[in-house]
Symmetry: C2
Protein backbone atom coordinates (compact mmCIF):
# COMPACT_ATOMS: atom_id res chain seq x y z
CA UNK A 1 0.00 0.00 0.00
CA UNK A 2 1.66 3.25 -1.08
CA UNK A 3 1.82 6.06 1.47
CA UNK A 4 -0.59 8.98 1.17
CA UNK A 5 0.82 12.16 -0.29
CA UNK A 6 0.24 15.41 1.60
CA UNK A 7 0.00 18.68 -0.33
CA UNK A 8 0.17 21.82 1.80
CA UNK A 9 -1.69 24.59 -0.01
CA UNK A 10 -0.14 28.05 0.34
CA UNK A 11 0.66 31.12 -1.73
CA UNK A 12 1.88 29.52 -4.95
CA UNK A 13 -0.21 29.54 -8.14
CA UNK A 14 -3.11 27.09 -8.13
CA UNK A 15 -1.75 25.07 -11.05
CA UNK A 16 1.44 24.25 -9.15
CA UNK A 17 -0.69 22.45 -6.58
CA UNK A 18 -2.84 20.80 -9.23
CA UNK A 19 0.32 19.24 -10.66
CA UNK A 20 1.55 18.25 -7.19
CA UNK A 21 -1.81 16.52 -6.68
CA UNK A 22 -2.01 14.83 -10.07
CA UNK A 23 1.41 13.20 -9.88
CA UNK A 24 0.82 11.00 -6.80
CA UNK A 25 -2.66 10.10 -8.13
CA UNK A 26 -0.96 8.85 -11.30
CA UNK A 27 1.10 6.53 -9.09
CA UNK A 28 -2.06 5.21 -7.46
CA UNK A 29 -1.54 7.19 -4.27
CA UNK A 30 -4.16 9.05 -2.27
CA UNK A 31 -3.57 12.78 -1.81
CA UNK A 32 -4.50 14.85 1.24
CA UNK A 33 -4.85 18.56 0.47
CA UNK A 34 -4.33 20.66 3.60
CA UNK A 35 -5.07 24.38 3.82
CA UNK A 36 -5.71 27.10 6.38
CA UNK A 37 -7.48 30.43 6.32
CA UNK A 38 -7.85 32.02 2.91
CA UNK A 39 -6.06 29.14 1.20
CA UNK A 40 -9.14 26.99 1.92
CA UNK A 41 -10.89 28.30 -1.21
CA UNK A 42 -7.78 27.47 -3.22
CA UNK A 43 -7.70 23.92 -1.87
CA UNK A 44 -11.26 23.40 -3.10
CA UNK A 45 -10.27 24.83 -6.51
CA UNK A 46 -7.32 22.42 -6.68
CA UNK A 47 -9.48 19.40 -5.85
CA UNK A 48 -12.10 20.41 -8.42
CA UNK A 49 -9.64 21.24 -11.23
CA UNK A 50 -7.74 18.01 -10.61
CA UNK A 51 -10.74 15.70 -10.76
CA UNK A 52 -12.51 17.54 -13.57
CA UNK A 53 -9.58 18.19 -15.91
CA UNK A 54 -6.45 16.26 -15.02
CA UNK A 55 -7.39 13.04 -13.30
CA UNK A 56 -10.97 12.13 -14.13
CA UNK A 57 -10.74 8.85 -12.20
CA UNK A 58 -10.20 10.67 -8.92
CA UNK A 59 -12.88 11.03 -6.30
CA UNK A 60 -13.25 13.06 -3.14
CA UNK A 61 -12.97 10.51 -0.34
CA UNK A 62 -13.52 12.85 2.59
CA UNK A 63 -13.55 16.50 3.59
CA UNK A 64 -12.86 17.61 7.13
CA UNK A 65 -12.83 21.07 8.62
CA UNK A 66 -11.36 22.21 11.88
CA UNK A 67 -9.80 25.05 13.79
CA UNK A 68 -6.12 25.63 14.30
CA UNK A 69 -5.15 27.64 17.35
CA UNK A 70 -2.21 29.70 16.23
CA UNK A 71 0.41 31.89 17.79
CA UNK A 72 -0.89 34.90 19.62
CA UNK A 73 -1.15 37.93 17.41
CA UNK A 74 0.07 41.41 18.32
CA UNK A 75 -2.62 41.93 20.97
CA UNK A 76 -1.54 38.77 22.79
CA UNK A 77 -4.68 36.72 22.17
CA UNK A 78 -4.45 33.35 20.42
CA UNK A 79 -5.62 33.38 16.82
CA UNK A 80 -8.13 30.84 15.60
CA UNK A 81 -7.74 29.86 11.97
CA UNK A 82 -10.07 27.48 10.12
CA UNK A 83 -8.54 24.50 8.38
CA UNK A 84 -9.61 22.01 5.73
CA UNK A 85 -8.39 18.57 4.72
CA UNK A 86 -9.60 17.21 1.41
CA UNK A 87 -8.71 13.59 0.66
CA UNK A 88 -8.60 12.81 -3.06
CA UNK A 89 -8.23 9.16 -4.05
CA UNK A 90 -7.63 7.48 -7.40
CA UNK A 91 -10.63 5.25 -8.15
CA UNK A 92 -8.84 3.27 -10.86
CA UNK A 93 -5.53 1.44 -10.68
CA UNK A 94 -2.87 3.42 -12.54
CA UNK A 95 -1.36 2.28 -15.83
CA UNK A 96 1.93 1.25 -14.23
CA UNK A 97 0.16 -1.10 -11.88
CA UNK A 98 -2.01 -2.88 -14.41
CA UNK A 99 1.04 -3.12 -16.67
CA UNK A 100 2.67 -5.38 -14.10
CA UNK A 101 0.94 -8.30 -15.74
CA UNK A 102 3.23 -9.68 -18.43
CA UNK A 103 1.86 -8.83 -21.86
CA UNK A 104 2.80 -12.29 -23.07
CA UNK A 105 2.64 -15.41 -20.98
CA UNK A 106 6.10 -16.95 -20.59
CA UNK A 107 4.66 -20.36 -21.41
CA UNK A 108 3.31 -19.13 -24.71
CA UNK A 109 5.24 -20.11 -27.79
CA UNK A 110 5.23 -18.70 -31.23
CA UNK A 111 3.86 -21.45 -33.41
CA UNK A 112 4.73 -19.94 -36.72
CA UNK B 1 -39.86 17.51 10.50
CA UNK B 2 -38.84 21.17 10.20
CA UNK B 3 -37.45 22.31 6.86
CA UNK B 4 -33.70 22.83 6.48
CA UNK B 5 -32.50 26.42 6.56
CA UNK B 6 -30.21 27.60 3.77
CA UNK B 7 -27.64 30.32 4.48
CA UNK B 8 -26.00 31.84 1.38
CA UNK B 9 -22.58 33.14 2.37
CA UNK B 10 -21.55 36.38 0.64
CA UNK B 11 -19.87 39.69 1.39
CA UNK B 12 -21.41 40.50 4.78
CA UNK B 13 -19.41 40.24 8.03
CA UNK B 14 -18.83 36.70 9.25
CA UNK B 15 -20.76 37.23 12.48
CA UNK B 16 -23.95 38.07 10.56
CA UNK B 17 -23.86 34.59 9.07
CA UNK B 18 -22.96 32.98 12.40
CA UNK B 19 -26.16 34.47 13.85
CA UNK B 20 -28.18 33.39 10.79
CA UNK B 21 -26.84 29.86 11.36
CA UNK B 22 -27.34 29.75 15.12
CA UNK B 23 -31.00 30.78 15.04
CA UNK B 24 -32.38 27.85 13.02
CA UNK B 25 -30.18 25.44 15.03
CA UNK B 26 -31.86 26.78 18.18
CA UNK B 27 -35.19 25.78 16.63
CA UNK B 28 -33.91 22.27 15.98
CA UNK B 29 -33.42 22.87 12.27
CA UNK B 30 -30.51 21.74 10.13
CA UNK B 31 -28.60 24.52 8.34
CA UNK B 32 -26.97 24.27 4.92
CA UNK B 33 -24.20 26.84 4.42
CA UNK B 34 -23.63 27.51 0.72
CA UNK B 35 -20.70 29.48 -0.66
CA UNK B 36 -18.80 30.04 -3.89
CA UNK B 37 -15.28 31.17 -4.74
CA UNK B 38 -13.54 33.20 -2.07
CA UNK B 39 -16.52 32.98 0.27
CA UNK B 40 -15.69 29.28 0.75
CA UNK B 41 -13.12 30.12 3.45
CA UNK B 42 -15.72 32.27 5.18
CA UNK B 43 -18.27 29.43 5.13
CA UNK B 44 -15.77 27.19 6.93
CA UNK B 45 -15.13 29.97 9.48
CA UNK B 46 -18.89 30.31 10.06
CA UNK B 47 -19.34 26.57 10.62
CA UNK B 48 -16.38 26.45 13.01
CA UNK B 49 -17.31 29.57 15.00
CA UNK B 50 -20.92 28.39 15.29
CA UNK B 51 -20.14 24.94 16.62
CA UNK B 52 -17.25 26.02 18.83
CA UNK B 53 -18.72 29.14 20.41
CA UNK B 54 -22.44 29.55 19.82
CA UNK B 55 -24.04 26.15 19.45
CA UNK B 56 -21.86 23.50 21.01
CA UNK B 57 -24.44 20.77 20.31
CA UNK B 58 -24.07 21.23 16.55
CA UNK B 59 -22.17 18.81 14.36
CA UNK B 60 -20.98 18.89 10.77
CA UNK B 61 -23.21 16.39 9.01
CA UNK B 62 -21.67 16.60 5.56
CA UNK B 63 -19.42 18.72 3.39
CA UNK B 64 -19.68 18.71 -0.38
CA UNK B 65 -17.64 20.56 -2.95
CA UNK B 66 -18.45 21.16 -6.58
CA UNK B 67 -18.03 23.45 -9.55
CA UNK B 68 -20.50 26.05 -10.69
CA UNK B 69 -20.31 26.99 -14.35
CA UNK B 70 -21.03 30.68 -14.41
CA UNK B 71 -21.78 33.33 -16.96
CA UNK B 72 -19.09 33.90 -19.53
CA UNK B 73 -16.62 36.53 -18.46
CA UNK B 74 -15.36 39.37 -20.64
CA UNK B 75 -13.37 37.08 -22.92
CA UNK B 76 -16.50 35.04 -23.73
CA UNK B 77 -15.42 31.80 -22.02
CA UNK B 78 -17.55 30.27 -19.26
CA UNK B 79 -16.18 30.77 -15.77
CA UNK B 80 -15.77 27.85 -13.42
CA UNK B 81 -16.23 28.68 -9.77
CA UNK B 82 -15.77 26.20 -6.93
CA UNK B 83 -18.62 25.75 -4.48
CA UNK B 84 -19.08 24.28 -1.03
CA UNK B 85 -22.09 23.09 0.93
CA UNK B 86 -21.62 22.51 4.64
CA UNK B 87 -24.54 20.88 6.46
CA UNK B 88 -24.65 21.70 10.17
CA UNK B 89 -27.15 19.80 12.28
CA UNK B 90 -28.26 20.17 15.89
CA UNK B 91 -27.31 16.96 17.68
CA UNK B 92 -29.65 17.58 20.59
CA UNK B 93 -33.38 18.10 20.38
CA UNK B 94 -34.25 21.70 21.21
CA UNK B 95 -36.18 22.62 24.32
CA UNK B 96 -39.37 23.35 22.33
CA UNK B 97 -39.43 19.88 20.87
CA UNK B 98 -38.94 17.87 24.00
CA UNK B 99 -41.58 20.05 25.61
CA UNK B 100 -44.15 18.72 23.12
CA UNK B 101 -44.67 15.66 25.30
CA UNK B 102 -47.48 16.39 27.72
CA UNK B 103 -46.02 16.83 31.16
CA UNK B 104 -48.96 14.99 32.61
CA UNK B 105 -50.72 12.06 30.98
CA UNK B 106 -54.38 12.87 30.23
CA UNK B 107 -55.46 9.54 31.75
CA UNK B 108 -53.73 10.35 35.00
CA UNK B 109 -55.93 11.45 37.79
CA UNK B 110 -55.10 13.32 40.88
CA UNK B 111 -55.84 10.91 43.67
CA UNK B 112 -55.53 13.35 46.49
Amino acid sequence: MPEDAVVLVGQKPTMNYVLATTMPLNEGRTVILKARGRAISKAVDIAEITRRRFFLEASIQSIEIGTWQGESSMDGRPRNVSTIEITVAPTKAPAEKTAKKPTKKPSEKATE
